[in-house]
Subunit: 336 residues, 2 copies
DNA sequence: TTTATTTACGTAAACGTTTACGGATAATCG
DNA sequence: CGATTATCCGTAAACGTTTACGTAAATAAA
C-alpha cells in the first residue's frame, strides 16, 4: 500500500527527511515555522511513523511485556489493568503472555523476549520450579520487575504484599473465633510468596500453642476437578474447623465441598482465603478474604519499571511491600 | 551491548549474511550441511533475531492487538485468555489495550495502531458512540475482527452470541416462573449487542401480552456508585418482581439493593443476568445467568483473524454467532 | 563435447527511521 | 570590520533483517 512516510513528507515540503524527522520530534535545531509546516502536513497526510524503523534505529520499542500465570483471574486481571493504565499514560504498549503455571512456557517467553522486542518485563512467576539461569540471562539484558509471585533467590526488583503477616493475622483471627483445628490449603510452594504465607500460618499456630500437624496442610494439584476432590477429601477426613486458603482457587472448592458434605460455613468450618473476588460479599456465606491491592501492585510495578528506564539502574535487589487487607465477613465469624 | 546479530554469525561461519539468514529461515537454496552449521552456531552464540529489523523488512509484525473496554472483567479476561492461547500456538504476540468504554481513547488506540505496529486487530467496542470513520480507515489498512461488542453499521467480520434469543428466553423463563412486572437493566445501548438484548426483552414481553412500560427500563450510568443508587431507586420505586440485567455490573447492585431494601431474591424479585461470573453458583442466592462462551469467542475471533492473514481476504461482512447458555439457578426460581 | 539446468552461495539494495557531521547564513561580539 | 557564535538545515550512514539479482561450479541433457 502507498503508506505515507517521512521521505514523502520531505518531498512534499521541499525539505530533507532529516529535517522532517527532527521537526516531528520537536528538535531545537528546527525553526518554529518549519515545525508548524511539517506538523500540519503530517496531519493532513495522516502520517503515522513506522514503529519498527524507529525501534530499529533507537534500539527501543516503547513496549513492555507482562508475563502472568493466567489472565482470567481476579488478581492478575486487576494487576494488568493497573499496568496498562500506567503504560498508556506514557504511550507505551503492553504485550501479554500467560504461562499457565508452566515453567517451560515461561522459559520460552523469556527467551523470545530477550531479542529486544520489549524494553522491560513485568513478571509474576509460574508456580512450577523456575528456570533461574534463563531469568538471570534475560534480566542482564533488560530490566525485569517481579510482582506478587516472586522468588527471593532471584535478584531483582520485587513488588509483593505482606504475605507472612497476612497469613499470620488470618490464622490469629480464626483462633480468636474459636477454631481449634486449622487447615492450610497450600499453593505456590516453590515460590517465596507461598513460603511466606505458609510460614505465617505455621508461626501463628505455634505462638498460640497449637501443635504442628502436617496432615492439616494440603497442596493444590492442577486441575479444578483434582482440587475439588482433594479439598473434599481433606475436609471429610481431617474435619478441620478452620481453613486458611492461600489462593482463591482452593477456597471456592470448600464451598462446594461443604455443600456436598452437609457442613455449614462458618458453624462447622470457618474459612478465610487470599482472594480478589469482586463480590466476596455476596457469597453464601460471605467470604472473609485477604484482599491484595492488585491494581496498585500493577501500578507500582509498572511505575518502577519506568523509573528504571529513566535511571538506567537495573542491577539491584529491592523489594517493595504493599499491605493486604483482611476483610472479615461471615465465613470466619464465631457463632453467636 | 554486544548483541549478536546475523553479520557476526556470518563472520564466524565464513558465510555471507544472506546465506545465514536463508539458512535460519530454512530456505531451499541452502545446503543441509550449511544449514546445520548455521543453526548450531546460532544456538551456541544464543542468537536471537532482531524483530524490528525483520518487521521493517517484511512489513509484518507477528503481533496482534486486542482492544477491550476493560481487562478486569470476567468476560473479557476469558476472551483474552482464548485469544492469547491461539496466538501463542502461532508464535504471535498479543498487545492489550483497554478503552474504559471511552470512545476517545478507543479512537486514539486505533490511530496508533494504523501505523502497522500490528498485523491485525481484535476489538470489542466501547459502549460510547463509536467513531465509525476512524474504524473504517483502520480496517482498510489492516484486518479487524469484532467480537461481542459489535455494531451492525460497521462492515467487518464479527463474532457474537445469540443476544436476542438469550434475552428473549430469559424473559420467557421469568414469566413462566410467575413474574408480572419485569424490569430491564440496559447497557451497551449504542451497540447492536445492546439493541438485540433489549429487543429480545421487548419481544418476549409483547408475545406474552405484557404492555410496554418504558419506566421498567433503566440505563446504566458510569460509576459503580451511580449504578447502585440507580438500581436501588429503580427497585424501590417501580417494585419489579423480575429483572433481566444486560450486564453483570448492573446485576450485582441488585443483590446489595435487595439486602438494603429488605427484599429477598427470588421471592420478592427474580433476577437473571448476562454474566460470566465464575461462581454464580455460590452467590446468595445463586444467580441465574446467561453465560456467554467467552473463551470460545476469543478462540474463534483469533482463529478468524489468522485465516484472514492467510487468505488476504479482508473486505467482507460476516457474522459468526455462538450460543450462550441460560443457566437456571435460585435467583429466578418460583417459590414452592 | 556443448549447452542447459540445478545447486549453493554472495553482493547489494531495500525497509523507514534517527543522528553524527558538516555547512551556509545570519546575528553577535571585540 | 573580522571573528565568533547561534540558528537552521542537508548529506549520508546506520540500525539488522530480507530478498532480487547475479554467478560460479556441478550436474544433466543434447
Amino acid at each position: 500500500m502507498g503508506e505515507i512516510n517521512i521521505k514523502m513528507l520531505a518531498l512534499e515540503l521541499n525539505l530533507s527527511a532529516a529535517t522532517v524527522s527532527r521537526a516531528l520530534r520537536d528538535s531545537y535545531e528546527i525553526s518554529s515555522e518549519t515545525k508548524a509546516r511539517v506538523i500540519e502536513m503530517a496531519k493532513k497526510l495522516n502520517y503515522e511513523p513506522n514503529p519498527f524503523a524507529s525501534s530499529l534505529r533507537q534500539q527501543k520499542s516503547k513496549t513492555i511485556a507482562v508475563i502472568v500465570p493466567a489472565i482470567a483471574n481476579n488478581f492478575f486481571s486487576l494487576a494488568i489493568n493497573g499496568i496498562e493504565e500506567v503504560a498508556r499514560a506514557r504511550d507505551y504498549h503492553v504485550l501479554i503472555y500467560q504461562t499457565h503455571e508452566n515453567s517451560e512456557i515461561e522459559r520460552s517467553f523469556l527467551m523470545r523476549l530477550s531479542s529486544g522486542r520489549v524494553d522491560g518485563i513485568l513478571i509474576s512467576l509460574a508456580s512450577e520450579e523456575v528456570d533461574k539461569r534463563q531469568l538471570k540471562e534475560v534480566s542482564e539484558k533488560l530490566p525485569v520487575v517481579f510482582f506478587d509471585r516472586v522468588h527471593d533467590d532471584i535478584e531483582g526488583v520485587k513488588i509483593t504484599t505482606d504475605d507472612y503477616t497476612s497469613a499470620y493475622n488470618a490464622v490469629q483471627h480464626l483462633i480468636e473465633n474459636g477454631c481449634k483445628k486449622i487447615g492450610y490449603l497450600m499453593a505456590l510452594n516453590s515460590l517465596s510468596t507461598g513460603e511466606k504465607r505458609l510460614q505465617g500460618y505455621l508461626d501463628a499456630l505455634k505462638n498460640n500453642g497449637f501443635p504442628y500437624q502436617p496432615d492439616l496442610i494440603i497442596t493444590n494439584s492442577g486441575t479444578v476437578e483434582q482440587n475439588y476432590s482433594l479439598v473434599r477429601n481433606f475436609i471429610a477426613e481431617q474435619k478441620p474447623d478452620g481453613i486458611l486458603s492461600s489462593i482463591e482457587d482452593l477456597a471456592m472448592p470448600c464451598y462446594y465441598a461443604c455443600k456436598d458434605l452437609k457442613l455449614t460455613i462458618p458453624d462447622d468450618l470457618k474459612l478465610i482465603s487470599f482472594s480478589n473476588l469482586a463480590h466476596a460479599e455476596l457469597l453464601n456465606p460471605s467470604l472473609t478474604t485477604i484482599n491484595q491491592p492488585a491494581f496498585e501492585i500493577g501500578v507500582e510495578a509498572a511505575g518502577i519499571l519506568f523509573k528504571i528506564f529513566n535511571n538506567r539502574r537495573y542491577a539491584f535487589n529491592e523489594t517493595i511491600t504493599l499491605k493486604s487487607n483482611l476483610i472479615k465477613r461471615e465465613s470466619s465469624m464465631r457463632a453467636e
